[in-house]
């Protein structure tokens, strides 16, 4: 579904990723783990084209996307939940979600305010997200910035889902959250995947991520050091030592 072929990307003056080749198949959960600065987030940002690769190709469903602008990438069905959530703090929860549907159903997602009920599809999507995260429904009139960290993460994921993506890019969804919330978020990720959504996940919480993922890639200073099935990586002695603290 998604393929990166020897991609190089500079982050400022630093070549943050140096020749990454990886693939994500339809319906998979793939996770990228590795230490800080190994290039995991850079890889995600290269896919969503917030950063531009200097070399290499990015293919999505067989089409080269490394030269498309970011909004085109979203409209192709790749949606990113950015690191640190980046919700709109001064908009209400509902407005945040509506913003996520900006490109939904080819430009009908965000409706003009005060023009009736808008279209059915964005209402349905909203309902879907509220079902997934009932707490968001309770707080739909609240400002995004007043939510707790976990709720904000849910909002960010919900917002990304509003564009009906085929591939969801998640950048450290567990960042700064309480363990109980983390396991809830991970459970939701698994549910979304069971519904057929393909997920590419970047995580510091290597153990939880590898348990969740079908396959994983281990990043080391801008290159892929290891790849394999989630379970296998979990049992790998090197990885145990380096990332799982055993």
């Amino acid at each position: 579904m998604l393929k990166l072929e020897s991609v190089h990307t500079f982050y400022g003056h630093i070549e943050a990723i140096r020749g990454i080749t990886l693939g994500v198949g339809p319906g998979e959960i793939v996770c990228l783990i590795g230490s800080n600065g190994a290039g995991k987030s850079t890889t995600l940002m290269t896919i969503s084209r917030i950063l531009t690769p200097s070399k290499g190709r990015v293919l999505f469903e067989g089409k080269e996307i490394q030269n498309l602008p970011p909004h085109k990438i979203v409209s192709m069905g790749i949606s990113q939940v950015p690191e640190g959530r980046r919700i709109f703090p001064k908009l209400t929860v509902k407005e945040n979600l509506e913003m996520g549907a900006y490109l939904g159903s080819r430009g009908q997602g965000v409706r003009d305010q005060g023009q009736g009920d808008g279209n059915q599809e964005s209402e349905n999507l909203l309902e879907y997200v509220f079902n997934l995260f009932p707490v968001l429904k309770e707080r739909q009139k609240q400002l995004g910035g007043t939510l707790s960290g976990g709720e904000q993460q849910m909002l960010a994921i919900g917002r990304a889902l509003m564009s009906k993506p085929k591939l969801l890019l998640l950048d450290e969804p567990s960042l700064g959250l309480a363990p109980i919330i983390v396991s809830k978020i991970f459970k939701t990720i698994r549910e979304l995947n069971a519904e057929g959504l393909t997920i590419l996940l970047v995580e510091q919480n290597a153990r939880a991520a590898l348990k969740l993922a079908h396959r994983g890639y281990v990043f080391e200073s801008g290159q892929i050091a290891k790849e394999g099935k989630g379970r296998d990586l979990l049992d790998d002695p090197d990885i145990k030592k380096a990332y799982l603290g055993e």
Binding site: P70, F88, Y102, Q113
Partner: protein, 354 residues
């Protein structure tokens, strides 16, 4: 207590100009108006939110009716001031699109204002076009200027954008000042004709006021509609978080171009109306101070809120006129006023809902 100290401080500031009695008056004036404000806030705080839009609607209808009746109620001098208010509202609406809606700190808006005024002046005097065809060309020219400036500035964010746009504003002013063969330099252009509708020359203040008022009201209406459209939402997303907006699939480049072009459009209209009202333009009217003044208007009124912008322009144009007797320290009063604003109502007098 903090508030008391501030009132005292304000009074102290004016002491050298007004003497001890004047300062005391000011002190009590502020104290009384603050008490009034608290009472008002309490009153409005008790009114439930759904009631408010109805009141706003009533209020704005009343204000519009009042504005139409104005020339018959007051002296010509105030009609003249009212024309100026409308022109500044137009200008502030343009700036508000760029700074208030989209969050691009643009400090060179006097340039578009100047381009509008000078195009209108030159097209009507040097080329002898009538007001309306000149106006259309003027609007095209000023929008184009906004569009072209967007190219170099959109790569920049925040402070850097402010610096570049500030520079742009100065460039335009210097060009106007030094390109003698076309703009006649510091002497300015005089004898700009009044607009003519169907053979009827709008030369009297009253009629000109109605013309400007109609332009201003339609601008306010259009800007308000655009704010609530898809485009307005995209601007809002860019203002709140540009990266997140990009991740939502918003073409940030396109919408920033639109904001700058649209903003420059209204500034150009304001400039054209200014030129044909004054019958005279010179580079002095388009200095950096002018840009800052307009930014003050929208900050005072409330960034991103159309009624706020209108209110802010009204106050900032009216206040210096009313304080004309105290020429020397009106800028000081203005500054103190802005400081107070930032303390008591940091979101502006009429805060934007979003």
């Amino acid at each position: 207590m903090k508030k008391l100290i501030f009132m005292f401080w304000c009074a102290l500031l004016t002491l050298p100009f007004m003497g001890i009695r004047g300062a005391a008056y000011l002190f009590f004036g502020i104290a009384v108006s603050y008490g009034f404000y608290v009472a008002l806030a309490n009153m409005f705080g008790k009114i439930k939110k759904p009631d408010l839009p109805v009141n706003m609607k009533l209020l704005s209808t009343a204000l519009i009716i009042f504005s139409f009746a104005l020339p018959f109620l007051v002296r010509d001098y105030y009609t003249d001031v009212a024309i100026l208010v409308c022109i500044y509202i137009l200008l502030a609406l343009g700036v508000n699109i760029v700074i208030g809606f989209t969050g691009l700190l643009h400090l060179g808006f006097a340039a578009f204002y100047g381009i509008g005024a000078y195009s209108n002046a030159l097209l009507t005097t040097a080329l002898g076009l009538d007001f309306w065809s000149a106006l259309i060309l003027t609007l095209i020219l000023s929008s184009l200027a906004g569009f072209l400036l967007a190219f170099p500035s959109l790569r920049l964010r925040g402070d850097y954008l402010a610096i570049v746009t500030l520079g742009f504003g100065e460039i335009i002013r210097l060009v106007l000042n030094n390109w003698d063969s076309v703009t006649r330099g510091p002497n300015g252009i005089s004898n700009i004709p009044s607009p003519v509708i169907l053979g009827f020359e709008i030369s009297s203040l009253k009629y000109y006021y109605y013309l400007v008022l109609l332009f201003m009201l339609s601008a306010a209406f259009i800007v308000k509609r655009v704010q609530r459209s898809r485009t307005g939402r995209a601007w809002l997303a860019i203002r709140e978080d540009e990266t997140a907006a990009e991740a939502m699939g918003i073409n940030t480049r396109k919408y920033k171009f639109m904001a700058l072009t649209f903003g420059a459009f209204w500034a150009g209209l304001a400039g054209a109306l200014f030129a044909s009202k004054m019958h005279f333009v010179s580079p002095e009217s388009f200095t950096f101070m002018e840009s800052v003044f307009v930014v003050c208007m929208i900050i005072l009124g409330g960034l991103g809120s159309v009624p706020g912008v209108i209110f802010g322009s009204l106050i900032l144009v009216l206040l210096p006129e009313l304080l004309r007797d105290f020429q020397l320290y009106r800028m000081l009063a203005l500054g103190a006023g802005l400081v107070l604003m930032m303390i008591f109502r940091p979101d502006g007098l009429i805060r934007s809902r979003q």
